[in-house]
């Protein structure tokens, strides 16, 4: 009865609401509720009771324990955040570079693209785990396995270090470049989707712009910095966010949180750790977002 009296706009709104209803139900029960529960857990001590659990409010104890008492959490958290800050520029640079390469016209471009996107399907946590575990069983120690894993991507970086040193670069820069070169496989493996996004962005740049620039006498170098770079700059922010989120999945912090929850059975501490991690990464994302979005150029 009531339905008939609704205006068209209201009916449309109702229909639209019905489209997102499955998502909304899932969101409320499988995202919002766990999120709030997780926040509650982080302030409580959780005891698994028959058929459920009991919470005991402990205020900031879990956070204090994570930050001051737990022997490794601090170190792992800072290490992985520093690692993230370290690898994001590398991945961005590499993926933009590859996208520009793949956007050129040359014979065998289809094949090259197919190879460059292979890491998208091969980047798997399970395989990485099996690889290191395989090395461990080979050598009998995780320390040796790690070193072996590094040695396997064998590249003699000494000559590179000397070269850069003679060229007068500062030490931190040399460190950065060398770590990038030795970890090139890691960088390539985690930049598949980013290349895809940059490539799509490059192809949406109107070709007329390049033609004009060429007629006015711009060199390819100039037209990259004056046309290509500003046009893809909005996607740099997208890619930064994607890279950071992507690194959550197999970061050591996630592993630590998982172990704390399911091996040590300390659910409260684990929740506190994950909130700390979320907070740190969130702040980082906001800072990066503000810094980058100031410089981004929007075409429309």
């Amino acid at each position: 009865m009531n339905l008939r009296r609704l205006t068209l706009v209201q009916k449309r709104a109702l229909v639209g609401f019905s489209f997102i209803l499955p998502w909304l139900v899932g969101f409320v029960f499988l995202f919002a509720t766990p999120l709030i529960q997780s926040a509650r857990f982080s302030f409580s001590k959780l005891n698994v009771a028959p058929g459920g659990y009991e919470l005991e409010f402990t205020a900031w104890t879990n956070f204090k324990q994570a930050l001051y008492i737990d022997p490794t959490f601090n170190r792992i958290l800072t290490e992985s955040v520093v690692n993230m800050l370290w690898s994001v520029p590398m991945i961005l640079f590499f993926s933009l570079f590859s996208a520009v390469l793949l956007n050129q016209k040359f014979k065998g471009r289809g094949l090259a693209r197919a190879v460059f996107f292979l890491p998208v399907i091969l980047a798997s946590g399970a395989i990485a785990a099996a690889e290191t575990a395989g090395l461990i069983s080979m050598t009998g120690s995780s320390q040796v396995a790690q070193e072996l894993g590094e040695a396997q991507s064998g590249f003699d970086s000494i000559s590179l270090i000397f070269m850069l040193d003679n060229a007068g670069f500062p030490d931190w820069f040399i460190d950065y470049i060398v770590s990038g070169v030795t970890g090139i496989y890691e960088i390539i493996r985690s930049s598949g989707v980013q290349i895809l996004i940059f490539l799509a962005a490059l192809q949406s740049v109107p070709p007329a712009m390049y033609e004009v620039a060429k007629m006015e006498g711009a060199t390819p170098y100039e037209s990259f910095w004056k046309i290509t770079f500003p046009m893809v700059s909005p996607l740099i922010l997208t890619n930064i966010i994607y890279t950071v989120i992507d690194s959550f999945a197999d970061s050591p912090v996630t592993r630590k949180i998982y172990e704390t929850a399911f091996q040590a059975q300390n659910f409260g501490l684990s929740a506190a750790m994950s909130w700390l991690y979320t907070g740190v990464v969130g702040i980082m994302l906001i800072v990066i977002g503000i810094l980058v979005s100031r410089r981004v150029f929007y075409y429309n």
């Binding site: 998502w23 995202f31 099996a130």
Partner: protein, 334 residues
């Protein structure tokens, strides 16, 4: 001096010189391009080739230092052992079935939500879309513990305990947790898929729907018979990514289904299993203290990894061109 001036004023010569310079520059650039592409391709493909070579390598060849990539003694034993330890074919079938079902559920639920956000405005729709973005940004390990406890004693608003008197159903180690999260568009990377669909539907002309409305089709009919068939590129993208990521996912599977018969779970525990079962497979007896050569174990593990990624690589050979095209056409970028 005079000759140089003369040459400069000779237009034909200057033209030829410029042309020669341009072509040589072009050739140099092409050369650099090919070297770079070949180098990066090599880094990407090398591990794959190395596994391929180990898969057919006889254990005799492990300690032969003269062998690079191409083994002297070929064998299929590695593949046979790896297959029997992984229980390969039944598990592959099971995994593919599970991943396909999940992919379809994700595509349907995310398409619905994406369309709802793209075309309808209702009170709070912008806020809700903001919440979709939030689901992309919040790392899943924040939700891990409550989700685990939630599915350990699963209950829909106390209905189950009301009827059966028990404290909900334990859904861990069944496929239900993943199915439920996917069907309600809150599964693995669902937020991203909703975003992709949203962008795509926004980019479609509104006139199509208006025409359908005037011809008497309701909103649901318009969606299923007109919008969905036109959204093939977006569906393709989402399904490709959903398939691949679901196949490779270890986080949700190890959280909800650590004992299940899925590829990612089994590959992660492969090294331990090889260590345990290889001696008896080689006919060395079932003594638990028996250890085989660790390098032989590594050989089998590498073969197992190759077997695990083989279905994806084969699929990729057929669909790789959609990867690039799809992202362009869905307008993730726009």
């Amino acid at each position: 001096m005079e000759r140089i001036d003369k040459l400069r004023s000779d237009e034909a010569f200057v033209y030829r010189l410029n042309k020669a310079r341009n072509t040589s520059l072009e050739w140099a650039w092409k050369l650099v391009l090919y070297i770079l592409i070949a180098g990066i391709s090599f880094i990407i493909l090398m591990p794959l080739f190395r596994r391929l070579s180990t898969a057919f390598k006889d254990p005799i060849d492990i300690y032969n230092p003269t062998i690079f990539m191409v083994p002297i003694h070929f064998t299929l034993d590695n593949i046979r052992h790896a297959m029997s330890i992984l229980n390969y074919w039944p598990m592959l079938g099971n995994t593919l079935l599970f991943v396909t079902v999940m992919t379809l559920l994700q595509a349907v639920s995310c398409a619905l939500a994406g369309y709802g956000f793209a075309r309808f405005s209702f009170p709070g729709s912008r806020l809700l879309f903001g919440l979709v973005i939030l689901t992309i940004l919040i790392p899943m390990n924040t939700l891990m513990v409550p989700m685990y406890l939630h599915f350990r004693s699963f209950d829909v608003m106390g209905l189950i305990s009301l009827f059966t008197g028990k404290d909900g159903v334990n859904l861990l180690n069944t496929y239900w947790p993943s199915m439920i999260t996917s069907a309600t568009a809150n599964g693995l990377k669902s937020g991203l898929y909703i975003y992709i669909f949203n962008q795509f539907f926004r980019g479609m002309p509104k006139e199509i729907e208006e025409a359908a409305l005037i011809d008497g089709a309701g909103a649901y009919r318009t969606f299923f018979t007109i919008m969905l068939p036109n959204a093939i590129p977006a569906i393709m993208t989402v399904m490709l990514f959903a398939f691949v990521w679901q196949y490779n996912d270890t986080f949700y599977t190890s959280l909800f289904m650590s004992n299940s018969d899925l590829m990612s779970v089994n590959v992660a525990s492969l090294p331990a299993n090889v260590n345990q079962y290889l001696p008896s497979l080689l006919g060395l007896g079932g003594n638990s203290d028996m250890r085989v050569d660790p390098n032989h174990v590594a050989l089998i593990v590498d073969t197992g990894i190759l077997l695990a990624i083989a279905p994806l690589v084969i699929m990729y050979l057929f669909v790789q061109r959609y990867f690039v095209e799809s992202v362009e056409r869905t307008g993730v970028v726009g």
